[in-house]
């Protein structure tokens, strides 16, 4: 039952803040709540071993739940501490804190509830709730551009999740057409192994397309760069590192339940979506001159790699999970760093920002290390994950996909390096007198960085066991 505190605590915070707490107090309460949920999620991972059910089977705690709880909550804690620090040091930000904290708490509560849900409709509803909670956060100051981006974000979320709902309806009809009893409980679906027919194939296509939209996969990815660019960096980090993983968990649940129904369809659709996403993101990375958009396009690229890993299955699944976890930490580091950079330079233009390592040493180092991890270099988890996915591609005989993957990744390396490294190592264009950066401000990013290195060098046995269990549930060895 203590695991339900992961949902209850942020919900209470949302009510309290809505009733009238604002400013620094609200930011401090958000930090406290995030600390509590992060602690509880770590405790939940340490305590529960076998899948546990409660609330008429609507809540299920299995390996996937535990793995993502322990990733999402500490990342949210890092984002909360960043927000608290920004509010503490910038009094002008205190005015909008009440609305921010209320919606951020709803966002956290719905994400944690989603990770605990065992019912496809509940998962769908909770994913929609995270999108609804994030929409006012994207608006930020209420400029017409950010309102437009928020509307586009909500629109794509509604359309994507509408397709998912339609797909679930088709899957349900498919079960009835095959003479099976229709259900949306994930554990029962895994046991039942729904039979393939025209309804179930159509349903799976729609569900994958809809969830692909939420993950930023082609063809419906265009909301992502605009939203990440217009949203405040803390919100972009929440979307990229927290909500992305929530959407991914829904995709994992669908794959766990339906992969056996139409394995070829799932693999080919994910592979096509993944490769096209990598292609469009590579072209966009080459063209963009905006650091936040560059990270957003890299997020589309990462989603493509994840889709390909999931399509290949087998030995790629362990690598895929390493890649997913690394990806979450990388995006959190990079978006929070861009927040710091924007606060000083007042621009995201990569041609204007130069000499970061002299101007903002900590931010320069975080941007550099984050970019190296983003590009999948050792010793980070992303390197190991990418290597395992590539090796599985070769092992499964998909040489053409392997060649396309390598070509696109190489082009991404060059384009990203060409844009980001001059920002870090170039000469400062103007001398600024900025307040000295403290280590406290960089503490969340430093923790994420340590986790990132840990995933590449040494994975603790308890985390490794969890990764293996989740990989098995997705068809891994």
């Amino acid at each position: 039952m203590t695991i339900l505190a992961l949902v209850v605590a942020p919900s209470i915070l949302a009510v309290l803040v809505a009733l009238g707490i604002s400013g620094r107090k609200a930011a401090l309460l958000l930090l406290g709540c995030a600390l509590l949920t992060a602690g509880l999620s770590v405790a939940a991972v340490a305590r529960v071993t076998a899948p546990a059910f409660t609330f008429e089977n609507l809540v299920r705690v299995d390996a996937t739940t535990r793995l993502f709880l322990v990733v999402v909550n500490p990342i949210f804690l890092g984002i909360s501490s960043y927000v608290w620090y920004r509010v503490h040091t910038t009094p002008a930000l205190r005015g909008g804190m009440r609305r921010f904290v209320a919606w951020a708490a709803v966002f956290l509560a719905s994400t944690n509830a989603l990770l605990l849900a065992n019912h496809l409709l509940a998962l769908w509803m909770l994913l929609e709730l995270t999108a609804l909670a994030a929409t006012p956060l994207v608006v930020g100051h209420g400029h017409v551009e950010s309102r437009g981006a928020a509307l586009r974000y909500l629109l794509f979320s509604t359309v994507g999740l509408g397709l998912v709902a339609l797909g679930f309806g088709c899957l349900s009809r498919g079960m009835v057409a095959s003479g099976q009893s229709s259900t949306f409980f994930v554990d029962r679906l895994i046991e039942l192994r729904p039979t393939a027919n025209a309804w179930s194939r159509l349903g799976l296509c729609l569900v994958l397309l809809g969830l692909g939209t939420k993950l930023g996969l082609a063809p419906m990815y265009s909301w992502l760069p605009e939203t990440y660019d217009q949203a405040p960096p803390a919100v972009a980090a929440m979307l990229g590192a927290v909500q992305f993983n929530a959407a991914l968990v829904v995709l994992f649940r669908v794959v766990q339940a339906y992969r056996a129904t139409s394995p070829a369809l799932v693999a080919s659709q994910l592979l096509a979506m993944g490769l096209v996403s990598m292609l469009v993101s590579t072209v966009s990375i080459i063209a963009t001159r905006n650091i936040k958009r560059l990270i957003a396009y890299a997020a589309i690229n990462h989603a493509g790699v994840i889709a390909i890993g999931l399509a290949v299955g087998g030995s790629a699944t362990y690598g895929l999970l390493l890649y997913v976890l690394s990806n979450a930490f990388i995006k959190a580091i990079l978006f929070l760093t861009t927040g710091k950079i924007f606060a000083h330079y007042k621009t995201n233009d990569t041609r204007v920002i130069s000499g970061l390592i002299h101007d903002l040493p900590y931010s320069g180092v975080f941007l550099m290390v984050g970019t190296i991890a983003l590009l999948g270099f050792p010793p980070f988890g992303s390197f190991l994950g990418e290597l395992l996915i590539l090796s599985a591609l070769v092992g499964s005989g998909r040489m053409l996909t392997f060649a396309a993957f390598c070509t696109l990744i190489t082009m991404t390396f060059v384009a990203t390096g060409r844009t980001v490294f001059p920002m870090i190592w170039g000469l400062s264009k103007e001398r600024h007198e900025w307040p000295r950066q403290t280590l406290l401000a960089g503490l969340p990013k430093l923790t994420f960085l340590l986790a990132l290195v840990g995933l590449g060098i040494y994975i603790p046995p308890s985390v490794n066991t969890l990764l293996q269990a989740v990989a098995r549930s997705l068809g891994g060895p």
Partner: protein, 208 residues
């Protein structure tokens, strides 16, 4: 096909031919009310709480709430926003009719037996495809919101044909609350866009 479904198909198609903002809102309202009527005919004794929730969603929210509030947000405001709706020309009409034909063919391949279920699925599929046509052809906020609401209506009609859809009443209540919250957010963003159309972004203000 029953007169009700024929009427529903009519209110899905007609706003694309007349193509002004008032007719598109009237079309949305009629869609909500007619889908509500179809839901009522499935359970005329209103024996199940699910039926009450479905009717509240379809009649109150989609039939009256959303179109009226959008109308209030648009009335007397920026003329450019009024005109941001579907271009009525021969090409778009041909595409719309082609999508309706495709929807009927798809439903026939999924449900071989002719009957009510196939007719309902055909009209629901046509609703979804026409919603995508509106979404794909619109760059303005109003057209996109109308497209999204049309899609929601198509899905609601499709759900009427399903059996054992809601296993928990709490999930159905949650779904209704989500529809309400989604509509409220659309209206909030839309009103904000109408009111702050002339506003300019400033990079001087601090941001999180």
């Amino acid at each position: 096909m029953s007169p009700l479904l024929m009427g529903l198909l009519g209110v899905m198609l007609l706003p694309l031919f007349v193509a002004n903002w008032r007719s598109s809102l009237l079309g949305l309202s009629c869609q909500g009310l007619l889908i509500g009527w179809a839901a009522y005919r499935l359970d005329p004794h209103l024996a199940s709480p699910h039926t009450w929730l479905t009717l509240a969603d379809l009649v109150l929210l989609r039939g009256f709430g959303a179109p009226l509030l959008l109308y209030r947000a648009l009335r007397g405001k920026n003329r450019a926003l009024h005109q941001q709706f579907f271009s009525p020309n021969l090409l778009t009409w041909t595409i719309a009719l082609g999508l309706v034909l495709a929807a009927f063919n798809l439903a026939a391949s999924l449900i071989p037996q002719d009957g009510d279920e196939r007719a309902l699925t055909s009209v629901a599929t046509a609703g979804v495809l026409l919603a995508f046509l509106v979404l794909a052809s619109q760059a303005g906020a109003f057209g996109q919101v109308v497209g999204a609401l049309r899609l929601e209506n198509g899905i609601a009609l499709f759900e009427l044909g399903e059996q054992q859809r809601h296993e928990h009443i709490t999930l159905h209540i949650g779904q209704l609350a989500l529809v309400l919250a989604t509509l409220s957010l659309y209206l909030w963003l839309f009103r904000g866009l109408v009111e702050t159309h002339e506003a300019h972004a400033s990079t001087d203000e601090p941001t999180l």
